[in-house]
Symmetry: C2
Amino acid sequence: MPNQTPPTHRVTSFEVAERAGVNQSTVSRALSGDTSITDATREKVRQAADELGYRVDSRAARLRSGKTSTIAIVVITKPGVEATGINPFHYNLLGSVCAAASDKGYQALVSFQSSSEQFYSDFVETRQADAVVLIGTSTNDAAWAHHHAILNREDVACWGSPYVDHRRVDSDNREGARVAVQRLLDGGNHKIAFIGDTRESQPQFRERYDAYCTLADELGFESGPAIFEEGETRAAQGRRSARSLIESGRKFDGIFCSCDAMAFGVLEVLREKGLAVPDDVSVIGFDGLGSGAHSSPPLTTIEPDFARAGVLLVEFALGETAEGTRPRAPVRLVERQSVKKPG
Amino acid sequence: MPNQTPPTHRVTSFEVAERAGVNQSTVSRALSGDTSITDATREKVRQAADELGYRVDSRAARLRSGKTSTIAIVVITKPGVEATGINPFHYNLLGSVCAAASDKGYQALVSFQSSSEQFYSDFVETRQADAVVLIGTSTNDAAWAHHHAILNREDVACWGSPYVDHRRVDSDNREGARVAVQRLLDGGNHKIAFIGDTRESQPQFRERYDAYCTLADELGFESGPAIFEEGETRAAQGRRSARSLIESGRKFDGIFCSCDAMAFGVLEVLREKGLAVPDDVSVIGFDGLGSGAHSSPPLTTIEPDFARAGVLLVEFALGETAEGTRPRAPVRLVERQSVKKPG
DNA sequence: CTGAAAGCGCTTACAG
DNA sequence: CTGAAAGCGCTTACAG
């Protein structure tokens, strides 16, 4: 156990230098791993630092070096929604972005923003971060409008923005739709309805719907217009949309939901109306929410590769992505029990 | 639109001072809201700053002022678990801690840590933060062991640690157990089983179990030993524990689960065994997970006040809590459909 | 391979 | 109410 100096006084590199009998600059080099330093010197410095309980002050180091080694992550949430009400999708993405940042040697500075008094993104200007990643619900118009101006900056990347003309990362929605629809077809479902929010401000859902339409021609299944009814939450939208679909009299034996949160509402109404899932109608979602494992029945879904999504966002914000590219997170089928088994 | 200088050169407070015709120190005071500055001067400075696109460099400001204005939040997760597999409870808590930090004027530096190469908590030593909040799964022994030494430091607070003798914040577990058990009783269920992980390393669950035992005497319902079977996930533990309970032949008409994640597994097995919830057996959970709204049936549960929990953690870490206090987050009943209606 | 010096961009006593 | 000076604790050319 080294002699720790009492924490009354902050130990500086100067004192370490004195104790080790070297110059302050040598302390800095030794501790930062500069290869020009002799092993013997480095060891001497390390020991002195340990004995004094010295740690470099990151504020000073960053000021002098000009770096921040930090990525700001802003999570946009809906006003008035508490922690338990935030779509788990955004939490998952947050976790992945933090992990990706960390893997690249960056700290993650995160803020949750829902209403105007919280809107803030000047992390780079104030030298708090080298880049900013924005993620969150595309339904908070005010928040995205506030951040709109920075969304095409080279040190920014986002997921979930309602705008298409920007530095965004998305799921591979076309491929996801293809896998979803194919899975329904394999289960013998050929009258496939699409439930989801395809308004202009929801580009990711529009992509899924557009792909569904294209695939209907290609693969020859019965499609139709997107079904969507307003509601407070995605689950409520799902419930009302499902009712609307049923009441329309339209025939269907499969439903492709634009997101899991809506699918949960759809599942509820189907059960309530006495329609068995998957025997009467198969349902597939999109997002890969973990809670889908506990819905009734457990929800089959398309899951984006979250780890990859985090990496893509961080790389994009750090300017490591080739110009003109729109990065896409790969997707995969998560087989559970809401779609009829093939054959 | 003010004349923005090209970003080739970083604008300093010195240049703003020149343009505004004041001293550098006046710029600093004017922009930081120092009340001794005249409105006229402040306005002059503000304008010069706007015209030059000046923003204070937070690294320099923090170095000089000695502050960091940052709280580090470390989220402990299980090794090998991806973003979708992290218990949503910890995400919710993370969101609340971030919000609480922000409300107090602090930034939140967050890291997810699961395995030894990621373990790190020297945020205060390296002047990256003024305090650290640790949250996460109590099942990652190695992680908590690594952080054990700092858990009684005045600038640290935690939630979920397997150790009891430390600066921890918890749900009001006794009150939660009381509300849960009373709800079951009100629904006419008097043979109440407890399913949960009550090993020593899970103090929060032990508290719930202990309260259940005490209440059994007080309120006069049939209790019994805690039922717990090992499993990879909480859901798996819940499934195996439910099977074990059923196979034991013990009579029960109500189950109090130590956490929602296990309750989801319990619900599955009950359905599989043909036991109707809540008609044959009522089930109540603990944690207030949002996904409980979509289980079958939707799970009645005890929810801690997450917003308050976040505030308590931040205040504790910031040394604003009275000495010797163990802060407790209040709890409330979230009525859904897994417990029989009273009367 | 190491030292001596300069300076990153601010804030804060200390004066007046 | 504002100015002039000092200095927070590092890193990095520049020498040798």
